[in-house]
Point group: C2
Chain length 166, copies 2
């Protein structure tokens, strides 16, 4: 894992990971995006209006019943190219050391990304969505309806990020 593309940078701290997993994940589909190399991916999903395709694997297609009535979805996917042992990171575009849980970096103990997407269309097992920033072929872990009542907090602040932008 410690190759050039996904390696460790000065100021980053890795820990030894447990020898065993505590639970198992099924990949329930794949995500098709225009990006095949990490440096091509948008820095975050709002930077791109590319339409991506979520392809749900056959056994789970019935579980899409009702999803067509949602304007937005919360999509969980598995960042399978990321290292999992970093507790402190120095993201290239910020250049400062921060804890993994203060970042949305794909490198985390459980490399599960959560993205809010706009649903454009469903056709069979394929969902056209806008709002993803992951590599083509990324494994799908979950699809959830996005409820504004519980999921939307317009006035939320990430202090370190706000300070950096001032």
């Amino acid at each position: 894992m410690a190759d050039d593309e996904f390696g460790i940078r000065a100021g980053e701290v890795a820990i030894p990971l447990p020898e065993k997993f505590d639970a198992g994940v099924y990949f329930i589909g794949r995500i098709q995006t225009p990006w095949t190399r990490r440096e091509e991916c948008p820095k975050n999903a709002r930077e791109s209006d590319a339409v991506c395709t979520i392809e749900v694997a056959e056994p789970y297609v019935a579980a899409l019943n009702g999803v067509e009535s949602c304007t937005h979805l919360l999509v969980l996917y598995w960042m399978d190219k990321s290292r999992r042992d970093l507790v402190l990171q120095v993201p290239r575009h910020y250049g400062e050391q921060r804890g993994t849980f203060a970042l949305r970096s794909p490198a985390r103990p459980n490399p599960i990304a959560a993205s809010v997407v706009t649903l454009r269309q469903i056709s069979g097992n394929r969902l056209s969505v806008v709002g993803l920033d992951c590599l083509d072929g990324t494994p799908l872990v979950d699809i959830k309806p996005y409820f504004a009542s519980t999921d939307s907090v317009p006035n939320a602040v990430v202090g370190w990020h706000k300070a950096q932008r001032c």
Copy 2:
């Protein structure tokens, strides 16, 4: 799994799950809540202003650096009491059959819940938060900063839910 409390209801459909997992999850802490039985849990997190405690396991504490500057967090946790094979469900409080991916039910192929919480305080490895609805002792999977710019969509609609309330 098919006991009374977590069993299958009329109108629900289960599928055979794959024989093997595709990836593994580490439990990185535990969540302390006031609820020890499923029927005690709030139906959703906005129904309760109970302060819950997220206890991050020792090896990962450094990863909290910077989290204190966030007003809100996205918390992922593992609903370890839930069955994973339901593709169609009939939630008790709605009484209609819907696909698992149109519901926030804990029963799903990968029983990972995603909740937006308000951060009240951090003390060492313990985070006091408001906005959880899970059982006491639920395993923690991830903590992420909540960015209003990408995570907040105030006008999002879950059509089936809106129709049911009218």
